[in-house]
């Protein structure tokens, strides 16, 4: 293995920066990953509890607004609700800015990349206006602090977060023989959604060794996992199906519903060999190429398996493998990573973005992301964003990238950098003759910068 500092920033981080020196070794990358989360400290984002408190206010004001429709206070109530709703939704744009600035300024880029990776692996989103902003708190509370621990702890944190329970309809799933169903004459019922996705997406993989019976049994075992806006995560015994369930041949739980067997099944699923292979494959694809080297996948699987799913061991294997340092750039950056690495490469000043209004953030970043095919925090399904390069570089997607790249630098840096210097600086050794020619032959500085940002050399990693 030949460690390449520039490649480390491009392939495993947020790209090269004009002001920050590239990381010097894989050991330093792993050490920083285990150190304090400086980027999160510098650019804070609200956690689940704080956002749930806002959801409570949202619900209270909405209720007040609805109940007072014909009274004199109606106008006031409506005004209060609308103002809160607007500010609450705008707050998301400011959290987006914080996230972007983490990528622009960090010296621990691997952490940012792993956070995005795991947030996507455990895709969850709010299904109504009140819950939508929780996507930020979910990543902050359930994903980010757990990416260096054991996979089973990450799995449990993600699955017990209110957003996941809301997104995959778990919070209202109840057993047919649960206390609540019996009392209410069979109203409501079992929902298999979360159980199915846990097996198919989060652990064993779609080709994993499970059947519909396992899905059904796991769904029964999951009954009781719920949340409230007041308490956050709860295990509600009244909703739980009594009796034992059998998942992958192992019996969980007894007569009395309890949380412990639910956590046990998750730990068992996390340590299953199929899960090791599934996670290894996904990591290899994400950090190297669509068709990864089988030897790399095998190494990662072994590291996962031998360590019982210790993610640091898996990352160590990833950074130790020769394939990870192959100099050719393969994977295409997804839209967010493209924008973030462009801002980092341009050396965008945090103070400049701090002055942007939520509306400017939306226009400058969030709307263009949607045109590039990544409707931020709103992926189509629980399988998250596409990993294949060809999914992003479509005519429509590339067009949106080019348009953004031509227009954005003027708004983000003053004065505009010299294009040739910029190409050498943000591409390093990968500033090939084609890019250098383009950087010097464009008619305007803005066009030159836009073309450099859209070069395959910049868009791949």
């Amino acid at each position: 293995m030949v460690f390449d500092p520039q490649l480390a920033e491009i392939r495993f981080g947020s790209g090269l920066s004009p002001t920050l020196a590239p990381v010097t070794s894989a050991d330093v990358m792993l050490a920083r990953l285990q150190g304090p989360d400086r980027a999160a400290d510098h650019f804070p984002i609200a956690k689940t509890d704080e956002i749930l408190a806002l959801v409570r206010v949202f619900a209270k004001l909405r209720k007040l607004n609805r109940s007072k429709r014909t009274t004199p206070e109606a106008k006031l109530a409506e005004k209060a609700f609308k103002r809160f709703r607007r500010e609450y939704l705008q707050q998301r744009d400011l959290w987006f800015r914080q996230l972007l600035l983490r990528h622009v300024t960090t010296q621990d880029g691997f952490r940012e990349r792993l956070t995005l990776f795991w947030a996507d692996h455990f895709t969850a989103k709010g299904k109504n206006r009140a819950m939508r902003p929780l996507a930020y708190g979910y990543v902050e509370s359930a994903i980010r602090p757990n990416i260096t621990g054991r996979f089973e702890d990450l799995l449990i944190a993600a699955l017990t977060n209110p957003l996941m329970l809301h997104y995959l309809d778990q919070f209202r799933s109840r057993g047919e023989n649960s206390a609540l169903s019996r009392r209410q004459g069979g109203r409501g019922g079992l929902n298999e959604n979360l159980a199915r996705e846990v097996l198919e997406l989060h652990t064993l993989g779609v080709d994993g060794p499970y059947g519909q019976k396992d899905v059904r049994q796991l769904a029964e075992l999951f009954t009781g996992l719920s949340y409230g806006v007041e308490k956050g995560f709860v295990f509600d015994q009244r909703m739980a199906e009594p009796g034992a369930e059998t998942v992958l041949g192992r019996v969980y739980g007894g007569a009395e519903p309890a949380l412990a067997p639910v956590l046990q099944v998750l730990r068992d699923l996390a340590r299953h060999p199929a899960t090791a292979a599934h996670i290894a494959q996904k990591l290899a694809v994400h950090f190297t190429q669509d068709q990864p080297d089988p030897d790399l996948v095998a190494d990662l699987t072994t590291a996962y398996h031998d360590s019982g799913g210790d993610l640091l061991e898996v990352y160590t294997a990833l950074l130790s493998h020769a394939t990870s340092w192959q100099p050719e750039l393969r994977n295409v950056k997804p839209p967010f990573d493209f924008l973030a690495s462009a801002c980092r490469g341009l050396g965008v000043a945090p103070a400049l973005l701090a002055g942007w209004t939520p509306k400017q953030i939306r226009r400058g970043f969030i709307a263009p992301l949607k045109l590039m095919g990544q409707d931020w925090q709103s992926p189509v399904g629980p399988d998250g964003w596409a990993e294949a390069d060809a999914a992003w570089i479509t005519p429509q997607g590339l067009s949106a990238r080019l348009r953004w790249a031509m227009a954005a630098p003027q708004r983000l840096v003053e004065p505009l950098p010299d294009p040739l210097g910029f190409a050498q600086q943000c591409l390093g050794a990968r500033a090939n003759p084609g890019v250098q020619f383009v950087a010097s032959a464009a008619e305007t500085r803005g066009e030159a910068l836009g073309l450099v940002l859209c070069s395959p050399a910049f868009q791949r990693r």
Binding site: G364, P395, Q396, A400, R403, V438, A441, E447
Partner: protein, 412 residues
């Protein structure tokens, strides 16, 4: 996600065959490499937000109707005051006044409606889930990751990327899947300066993925620019941040669809928003219906008479709305709704569907129009007629679990 990646890759491979070297090729000649699998045209329009089928196609002949909608539909009461039930269709149903633009189509038998239909979605009344189910075309949520229109394509040979087009920025899940499809939005146009265009081509020429996408983006942008006669200067104008063009964006979608349908494209789909009318429905629904009728007319004009005769437009929504007007001049999320059918291939001039009635006991949960038909069955019969797809395939593959029943004869 793997599915859509596959389809795009197939598309790009095909684009690559065009031999698009930017320096050498003018790029603007669309080349047919494969004969289209059939000759009829299908346009699917998703009306997002839950169209109030009872206000669009008003059952004024039902004795209960006026009483349920006192503010939305005023009937003649006093002398000298005209009836405002809308534009009479058949003595029982009347069209919303803002559909006046498509009245000539009704008279020519090129416009029809289907009343009291829905997907299998019940009770929760969430737009999000309702649209997911509408586009998945399944009995329940989460059964399939691909969409029904893509599954139709998967059943046919000779399907190429341009056979089906997803148009606009809205995500059209009904076209997701393993079969190749194209996507483009009229406002995705690249207006690079000639120099920047040439340089971009040079820079990407060694990367097949990028050069194919760039060629196609430039070709589609040029195709789109052909009909805009605002002068030659547009290409040199500075680019703004990409954003959705305001104004008559819906007409651009329809015009772009029509242009594709004149060529190799057999299926085009796009969505229209703005149907969620919880308050001041008179204004909101009127504007939305005008957009829809504008789209239908733009499609008719855009494809020309020959292709119009082979075209079926099917507009559908995730659910209908409450039969009772609410306290703010609107309606809330309901169940049974309506579909709009148009085109020269449609046997129009009639309102299809079995009318359930509006008396309290006939309503769904005493609140919504009772669905008596399935949106999927309507779509299935139309696709059967246009594409020759077998009924078993439609019931098992395209819409798993559907029973199509008797052919209502939507097509000429």
């Amino acid at each position: 996600m793997a599915d859509s990646a596959l389809s795009r890759r197939t598309f790009l491979t095909r684009s690559g065959l065009l031999g698009c070297s930017l320096a050498a090729s003018p790029l603007i000649t669309p080349v047919s490499l494969a004969a289209a699998p059939w000759d009829q045209r299908l346009v699917v329009i998703i009306l997002r937000g839950g169209m109030d089928g009872l206000d669009a196609i008003r059952p004024y002949g039902d004795v209960n109707f006026a009483g349920l909608r006192p503010g939305l539909v005023r009937r003649a009461g006093q002398p000298g005051q005209e009836a405002e039930v809308g534009l009479d269709l058949d003595g029982f149903f009347a069209m919303h006044p803002d559909l006046a633009g498509v009245m000539p189509l009704w008279q020519q038998g090129e416009l029809a409606f289907v009343q009291a239909v829905s997907t299998p979605y019940r009770d929760r009344r969430s737009h999000f889930d309702g649209q997911d189910l509408l586009e998945a075309g399944t009995m329940g949520l989460g059964e399939r990751r691909d969409g029904w229109l893509n599954r139709l394509l998967q059943l046919h040979s000779g399907v190429a990327a341009r056979t089906a087009f997803a148009i606009g920025h809205g995500d059209l899940q009904l076209l997701h899947g393993a079969a190749p499809v194209s996507d483009w939005s009229p406002d995705a146009d690249l207006a690079l300066s000639p120099q920047a265009e040439r340089l971009a081509g040079v820079m990407m020429q060694d990367d097949p993925l990028f050069s194919a996408a760039l060629s196609e983006a430039l070709a589609l942008s040029r195709l789109d620019a052909e009909q805009v006669t605002t002068g030659a200067g547009s290409a040199a104008q500075p680019q703004g941040m990409p954003g959705v063009t305001p104004g008559k964006a819906h007409l651009k979608l329809a015009e772009f669809a029509a242009k594709q349908l004149r060529g190799d494209t057999r299926i085009a789909s796009f969505s229209l928003n703005g149907w969620d009318t919880h308050s001041q429905q008179k204004r909101g629904l009127g504007a939305a219906l005008k957009r829809l009728s504008g789209c239908i007319l733009a499609l008719k004009q855009g494809v020309g008479p020959l292709i119009w005769d082979k075209t079926a437009i099917v507009a559908m929504t995730e659910f209908g709305r409450t039969v009772r007007e609410n306290g703010t001049g609107g309606t809330d999320h309901g169940t049974g709704g309506a579909m709009v059918l148009a085109g020269g291939a449609i046997r129009g001039g009639r309102v299809y569907g079995r009318w359930p009635g509006l008396e309290e006991a006939a309503l769904y949960n005493r609140r919504d129009l009772m669905p008596t038909g399935d949106v999927r069955a309507v779509s299935a019969w139309i696709m059967r007629g246009l594409t020759g797809t077998g009924q078993t395939d439609l019931e098992q593959q395209v819409f798993p679990g559907l029973q199509m029943g008797q052919d209502p004869g939507f097509l000429r």
